[in-house]
Structure formats: structure tokens, C-alpha cells
């Protein structure tokens, strides 16, 4: 049998291996050359950019006011890039009253039109950069071009358009996103959509209500989640309608919204949601109760402390353990439930928040009324029990 080595060797000096060596060596030289050239080019570029930035900054007021004509810097790619970067950074940091001259400069110089044109006609990375840049301008006339980006067949481009629209933070920018997701066919990461909608609808969350009503399934859940984040007291009864929605995720979002609004009608609705058949709806309701300032919530939370679900119990304990002036009363209520799990969760959370020492010292400093002595004993027993339960669980688990 003839070896492969011999076969290759027969190719002679111009054989495969020799060629491979040459190709590899050439590859090495090319890579090293590329690294050296790239380093040199970048160092030169940054030095030049630095010099031009100083020069442009020293005439910034004239550029902004138009005393220095846009033609003087617009057609030099480096100058144009520097001015655009400074303008966009300034727009992002500016309050509404300082925005008009910056936007005027973008418009008058044609930078905005250039980006709109790129967003519409370019492809790939250039288009995505244009879309994100347009979002940073916060200019209303950029919205149609950004909306067109939502219809791209490339997912990356659609994401850039969503993010761009989100960055404009205009309510008008939410409409193209909402229209498309309502179809149920729009494919973009949920998180990008949620963030964009939160940014756009912050000032007018009412926009979302109409869309939630017409949406179904996962889209309805997504919109409800955004609404839950932005809810304001003005939304009122719309939130109560969502609290009885057939979709558990929507009810959970309604609970979150009710927590954010902190209105008087919130407590009865949260009371109902705290007894929901779905554990995560009950959990959200308990979290929301933590945000509401109403002493009547204690009873609901103590009941939630006896919930069958561990997460709900823990969260109820978390909320209760942070209601400092009422801790003694809450402790009595928890003891009265005669639920060991509830008591252990509560005591454990008091430990976590550091409030347990205060409670113990309160009992220590009192005149030893019989009831308080009993309560003190119960707390001590519960603390020991928590410790034992943890250790026993660990030992039992370790024995497997």
C-alpha cells in the first residue's frame, strides 16, 4: 500500500506541503502586516480627529448659529462626522428648551436629510446606523423613515428601527410599532419592543389602552406589561377592566399597574387579585400592595403569607417586614394565623431586613406583659425553627 505521504511527495518541490508552507507563511506576514498597518492608520486617524475636534469646538457657537456656513464642514467626511457626533450627544443631554437650535443646525446643514436618505436607501450596517442615528435626533420628521425600517425583511434592521423609534421618545413614534405588532406577525425581540414603547408612551400611556383592547394573546400580554409599567392615576377604570381579564399575564400586569398608580380604588382590585387562581398573579398583587400606602393592606398581606405558593409567601413576608411602625401588630397577626410556614417566612424576612433586633429589643425593654412574653417566646422559637429547618433541609438533601 502506498502512503499518502509518498503520493504527496511525488508532487515534487511544488508539492502540496511546500505550497501549504508558503501559504501559511504568507498568511502570517499578511496578518502581521495588517495589524501593523491598522495600528498606524488608527493612530493617525485619532490624532487628526483630535485636532479637528479642537478646531471645530473652538468655533462651535458659530457653527450652531450658522455664521460658519454648513458648506465649510459638511463635505469633509471627518468634520461632518465630528459635528454630527457633538450635535447628537448634545441633543441627548439637552432639556426641551435647548433643543431647537441643535435640531435647526441638523436640519439646515442637511445632516438630517442625509440620514433619512440613508435609512431609506442604504442596506445592511449603513442602514442600521442611519436608523439609530435618526432615533437619536429626536426629530419628528425622522419617524416615517424609521417606520419604513420596521418593514425590512432583515431582523437586525427591524430591531434598529424599533430602537430608533424608541429613542425619539415621541408618542407618534409608538404608533407604527403598535400598528405592526397588532398584526401578530411582527418579529422583533420582546425586550426591544417593550423598551421602545415605554420610552414613546411615557407621557401618554392612554395611547396603549386602545391597542390593548384590540389585541389578543401574546400581543395583548406584551402591551399590558408596558401599560403596567407606565400606568398613571388618570388611567382609572381601564386598569380595573384589565384586572378581570381572562389572560393571567394581563391580570398580573394590571396588578403591577395598580401598584404604580397608588389610587384608592386600587386596594379592592388588588385584594381580588391576591386571591387569583394563578400564583404569579397573586405574586404581582402582593408586590403591588407593597407600593400602596394604605394600612388596610396588612390583612391581605397576612393572608398572602399563608399562601400555598412559596414565592407568594416570601414576597408577602418581604413587604410586611418593611412596614416598620406596624411590625409588632403584624407579628401578632401572623402568630394568630397559627401557620408555621407563614411565621417562619416572616421571621426569616425580619432577619434579612435587620428589623428582628429592633423587635426583640422592644420586647426586652417592655414591662413583660404576659402577652408580650408569649410573643417573645414565639419569635424566639420561630427563629430557632428557621435555623433548624434550614439545617435539617440541608442535611436531608445532603443525605441523598
Amino acid at each position: 500500500m502506498e502512503s499518502i505521504f509518498n503520493g504527496i511527495e511525488k508532487l515534487g518541490p511544488a508539492g502540496l506541503v511546500l505550497q501549504s508552507i508558503l501559504v501559511s507563511l504568507l498568511g502570517i506576514f499578511l496578518l502581521v502586516g495588517f495589524i501593523v498597518l491598522r495600528r498606524w492608520y488608527r493612530a493617525r486617524y485619532f490624532r487628526r480627529r483630535n485636532e479637528r475636534t479642537v478646531a471645530l469646538r473652538s468655533h462651535w457657537d458659530e457653527i450652531l448659529s450658522g455664521k460658519i456656513s454648513a458648506e465649510d464642514w459638511r463635505f469633509d467626511p471627518l468634520d461632518c462626522n465630528i459635528v454630527e457626533s457633538i450635535l447628537l450627544d448634545s441633543i441627548e443631554m439637552s432639556s426641551a428648551d435647548k433643543l431647537p437650535p441643535l435640531l435647526d443646525c441638523l436640519r439646515v446643514s442637511g445632516l438630517l436629510d442625509m440620514r433619512i436618505y440613508q435609512a431609506r436607501t442604504s442596506r445592511g450596517w449603513k442602514q442600521r446606523t442611519a436608523l439609530l442615528t435618526l432615533g437619536r435626533t429626536r426629530a419628528v420628521e425622522a419617524i416615517p423613515a424609521l417606520a419604513e425600517g420596521l418593514d425590512s425583511r432583515l431582523r437586525e434592521t427591524r430591531i434598529a428601527a424599533v430602537r430608533g423609534l424608541g429613542r425619539t421618545a415621541c408618542t407618534e413614534a409608538a404608533i407604527p410599532i403598535l400598528d405592526r405588532i397588532l398584526t401578530g406577525q411582527f418579529d422583533a425581540p420582546e425586550r426591544s419592543l417593550k423598551n421602545a414603547l415605554v420610552n414613546c408612551c411615557r407621557a401618554h400611556p392612554q395611547v396603549l389602552v386602545n391597542y390593548v383592547e384590540h389585541a389578543n394573546g401574546p400581543v395583548r400580554e406584551l402591551l399590558a406589561r408596558v401599560l403596567g409599567e407606565l400606568a398613571s392615576p388618570e388611567l382609572g377604570e381601564e386598569l380595573l377592566v384589565l384586572a378581570v381579564d381572562p389572560l393571567p399575564e394581563v391580570r398580573a400586569s394590571a396588578a403591577r399597574a395598580l401598584g404604580n398608580t397608588n389610587t384608592p380604588y386600587g386596594l379592592p382590585a388588588l385584594h381580588t387579585l391576591a386571591s387569583d387562581p394563578e400564583w404569579f398573579v397573586r405574586l404581582r398583587a402582593v408586590v403591588a400592595l407593597g407600593q400602596i400606602e394604605n394600612i388596610d393592606k396588612i390583612k391581605i398581606l397576612v393572608r398572602a403569607l399563608c399562601d400555598a405558593n412559596r414565592h407568594v409567601r416570601q414576597r408577602a413576608a418581604w413587604v410586611l417586614a418593611r412596614m416598620e411602625p406596624q411590625l409588632e401588630q403584624i407579628l401578632e397577626d401572623v402568630v394568630a394565623t397559627r401557620d408555621d410556614y407563614a411565621l417562619q417566612s416572616f421571621v426569616s424576612e425580619l432577619e434579612r431586613s435587620g428589623a428582628i433586633e429592633k423587635i426583640v429589643s422592644t420586647f426586652d425593654g417592655s414591662d413583660y406583659h404576659s402577652d408580650e412574653t408569649t410573643l417573645m417566646e414565639v419569635v424566639t422559637q420561630a427563629r430557632n425553627q428557621v435555623e433548624l429547618t434550614g439545617k435539617a433541609a440541608a442535611v436531608a438533601a445532603g443525605a441523598h
Binding site: R163, R191, E351, R352, G390, A394, V395
Partner: protein, 469 residues
């Protein structure tokens, strides 16, 4: 003679195939890295930090005899930029003053917090909380002799949907958590774990447990490891993750969905390579459940870690890594070439068996048979030299490719002299460092076959951290 000819043919094919795979991985990694660095240009971390949808995360820090660095490390972790953070330090039965140092620095108080051991661990002695920072909890547990047990205890106590495991002696960059979570935000429904890059800390200047200036280490053995880490992370992991076949997320820095880790039973206690083992078991479970998922690698969130500075420690580490590899591959051998495990069973696991596990054995057999063939005249001297030169040139090309990737994307080594040193060391990495690594890996196989699964400690110089003036 006949045997030598066949053996040489097999070796030749093996060598060509492995180089083709490396080259393919390098090309995929370059494309992916360049795309990622483009994407980073538009990533606004401040928006992620401010977003109400950013999920909470628990950092789990297993610590065993870390008295020298633990206080500074925990301080640095608490200083990480992330909106909703919980830090759980697990003191794994340290015999030094680790616990005492923590107790003093953070005025720890016993907290009888309900601890439910969903994953079996060695018994807990106590749970502590810090009145100075409500985000910090310390679990003091009895030693189980393995890091996995400590991590499992931390997972049991964690309250966030995501957990991030970090070594106590490593340094995370301030924005690394939010950067690594960007991988999760991209598709929270599918991305169940994300790994970040681990870089070599040796030689860099550290102030208040934060990297102040990135420098290359001085000794050759450490610089070689810098190149190895760059190649392993920027080329290997980046490329495998691109095909959703990432077999490992480094135990020094990785984020996992807590529920999923619990479902697979946590980190396997006494596994030698617990990080590799966990990821393979996650692949197994998710394939068995026919779930759509992605295990990703993101190259910009950085964890800096100390690497061995002496040959003895390096030998131990490499032997342990190889033992970890066998210890994972063997129990999961039933996944090989099974349709239900998809590309993990058909590509990545066979690759790991053939080009990782068997590599040192094949290499040593190769050296022997080629020398024998040379002596017996089956192979001509000129061809042997040509082949040797090709092997050397190609391996150097791959190493320089890794340095190029670093240059094109993250450029942590900003001084040109450092890059020049890296390039020069690329030329010397393949002799005799590569052969030494082969010997250490063979030692690992031998130790595993003898049942020696002990964790041998590594000699650490310690992070020389300067206090801020």
C-alpha cells in the same frame, strides 16, 4: 513498515482535519466578532441600566481560603454597575481567616433566613447579612472539598431569576454584568446561559480591585497563557456559540437561568470540571425536552483572572482540566451520534473526544511513529522537515489570528510594544510549550484512570492591588 505507513496516513488526515476545523473556527469567529463590535457601537448601557425590564441577578462567589483577597473582591462586586444586584459569598469551610475578614469588614450579623436546599449541599453553619450593604449575604458552610457544592448552596439561597458565578480571586469590570446580560436581553425566552471572556490578570495594574492599566505579564509562561486564552475564548468559544454548540461556560464568569440550573440538579458535586459538566447536562436536558434554546458567548464582558506563574502549578491546572474533560465526556458518552441531541451529539461532542481528549495521545503516538518512520526510511527527511515547518507555520497562523481578533475588536493591549511581544510569543508557542502541555494532559489522563480526582491547589502570587491615592 506497513503499520508505520498506515499510522502516518491516519496522523496526516487527523492533522489536516484539525487544522481545517481550526481555520473554519477562526473565520467564523472573525465574522462574529466584527459583527459584535459593530453592534456594540450602538449599545447604550445606560438605557439598559435604567430599563424597568432589566431582571435582577445574584452573584455567587464561592470562596475557599481566600483571606488575602476576599474583602477587596466582595467590595468590587458590590460596586458593579447593575440596577438590581444580590451578592452571595459562600465560604466553603475555609481553614484560614476568610470568614473572619468578611465578618469584620462588613460587620456581618447572623440572619436566620429560611434556606431551602433544593439542591443537595454540605450542611450550612450559618447565614449572615451585612447591615452596611443589604445586598450582601454570606453563607458559611462546611467544606465539601469541591467548588460545585459551594455554588449549589449559593444557588439555593439566590432570589433572582439569573445567577452569575464568579471566582473570588477574579476581577470583573464595572460594566461586565450589564454587558453579559445584554446577551440575555437579546432573546430572554431562548437564551438560557451566557459566558463572558476570561482574560489574564497577571502583569496588569490593579487599583482598588479594578483594572487600572492592562499590561502583559513579564514571564514567557504567562504570556503563552495570554495567547491561549485569547485563542480559546475569542476563536473557540465565539465560533462554537455562533452555531449554538458552546460546550462550556467558564466557571470564573458565566450567567445562568437559575430555574434551569435547579432543574438539572445544579453543578455536579465532585465533578472535576463542573462548568463543562453543567453546560453539557443543560444541552442534554433541553434537547430531550425539545426546547428551543441558545447558550451564548459574549466577548466584551470581561473577567480578569490570575493564571499560574510557575510550571508546577500550570502542570496541575492543565492535568485537572483534562481530567475534567474526561470526567464529563465519559458519563455523557450516550449523547454521541444520537439524533435527539442534534449538532451537540453529532459535532461538538465528537470534536471534543477526538480533538481534545485524544489529542495528547495522538500527538505522542504521532511523534513516535514519525520518528520511527524517519529512522526506518518510510518517510524522507526532506518531507519530514517540510511537514514540520507546515505544522509550525499553520499553528502560528491560528495564534496570530487570535491576536488579530483582539486587535480588531477589543484592543485591551493598547501599547504597540505589548502587541509586538504577543506576536513574537506566537512564534515560540509551539515549541516547547505545546509539548509540555501535551505531557501535562497525559498526566491528567493517567491520574483520572488511577482514580485520582483530587483538586490540587495552585500557587498564587495574589493580586497586587494598589489603594487609590
Amino acid at each position: 513498515m506497513h503499520f508505520l505507513a498506515i499510522s502516518n496516513d491516519i496522523l496526516f488526515l487527523y492533522y489536516v482535519l484539525s487544522n481545517v476545523i481550526y481555520l473554519a473556527l477562526l473565520i467564523v469567529a472573525i465574522v462574529k466578532n466584527v459583527r459584535h463590535s459593530h453592534r456594540l457601537g450602538s449599545q447604550r448601557l445606560e438605557l439598559m441600566k435604567a430599563s424597568p425590564f432589566t431582571p435582577p441577578i445574584t452573584l455567587i462567589v464561592p470562596a475557599h481560603n481566600e483571606e488575602r483577597s476576599i474583602v477587596g473582591s466582595v467590595g468590587a462586586l458590590l460596586g458593579l454597575e447593575y440596577p438590581s444586584l444580590e451578592v452571595i459569598v459562600v465560604n466553603d469551610g475555609s481553614s484560614d481567616d476568610t470568614m473572619e475578614k468578611l465578618r469584620q469588614a462588613y460587620r456581618l450579623q447572623v440572619a436566620r433566613i429560611l434556606y431551602i436546599a433544593d439542591i443537595a449541599t454540605a450542611p450550612l453553619r450559618s447565614i449572615y447579612r451585612s447591615p452596611l450593604d443589604s445586598r450582601l449575604f454570606v453563607l458559611d458552610k462546611e467544606a465539601a472539598g469541591c467548588k460545585a457544592d459551594a455554588i449549589n448552596a449559593g444557588i439555593n439561597a439566590a432570589t433572582s431569576p439569573y445567577v452569575c458565578v464568579v471566582d473570588a480571586d477574579s476581577i470583573l469590570e464595572k460594566e461586565s454584568l450589564i454587558r453579559i446580560m445584554a446577551g440575555v436581553f437579546a432573546d430572554p425566552g431562548r437564551v438560557i446561559a451566557v459566558g463572558g471572556i476570561v482574560r489574564v490578570l497577571n502583569g496588569s495594574r490593579v487599583v482598588n480591585n479594578q483594572i487600572e492599566e492592562v499590561r502583559l505579564p513579564k514571564s514567557a509562561i504567562e504570556v503563552m497563557q495570554v495567547i491561549e486564552y485569547l485563542r480559546a475564548f475569542l476563536v473557540g468559544r465565539e465560533a462554537w456559540a455562533g452555531f449554538n454548540m458552546l460546550p462550556i461556560i467558564s466557571g470564573a464568569f458565566g450567567v445562568f437561568q437559575r430555574d434551569l440550573v435547579m432543574q438539572v440538579g445544579g453543578f455536579r458535586t465532585h465533578a472535576v470540571g463542573e462548568d463543562l459538566d453543567l453546560v453539557i447536562r443543560m444541552h442534554r436536558r433541553l434537547h430531550e425536552e425539545h426546547r428551543s434554546y441558545h447558550i451564548d458567548f459574549i466577548p466584551d464582558p470581561t473577567c480578569w483572572t490570575e493564571v499560574p506563574t510557575d510550571l508546577k502549578s500550570l502542570a496541575r491546572q492543565r492535568a485537572r482540566w483534562h481530567k475534567g474533560l474526561i470526567d464529563t465526556l465519559w458519563p455523557n458518552r450516550d449523547m454521541l451520534f444520537r439524533a435527539r441531541y442534534g449538532r451537540v451529539g453529532w459535532l461538538v461532542l465528537p470534536y471534543m473526544w477526538v480533538f481534545e481528549f485524544f489529542a495528547p495521545i495522538i500527538e505522542v503516538v504521532g511523534y513516535s511513529t514519525i520518528i520511527l518512520a524517519l529512522i526506518s526510511g518510510v518517510l524522507s527527511k526532506s518531507f519530514f522537515l517540510q511537514f514540520l515547518l507546515f505544522g509550525y507555520a499553520f499553528a502560528t497562523l491560528i495564534s496570530i489570528g487570535a491576536v488579530l481578533l483582539e486587535e480588531m475588536t477589543f484592543r485591551r493591549y493598547s501599547d504597540w510594544r505589548e502587541v509586538a511581544r504577543l506576536l513574537i510569543y506566537c512564534l515560540f508557542e509551539h515549541f516547547p510549550y505545546r509539548q509540555l502541555t501535551m505531557v501535562w494532559r497525559l498526566q491528567g489522563i493517567w491520574q483520572y484512570l488511577r482514580g485520582d480526582l483530587q483538586w490540587r491547589s495552585m500557587k498564587r502570587v495574589g493580586i497586587s492591588t494598589e489603594a487609590d491615592a
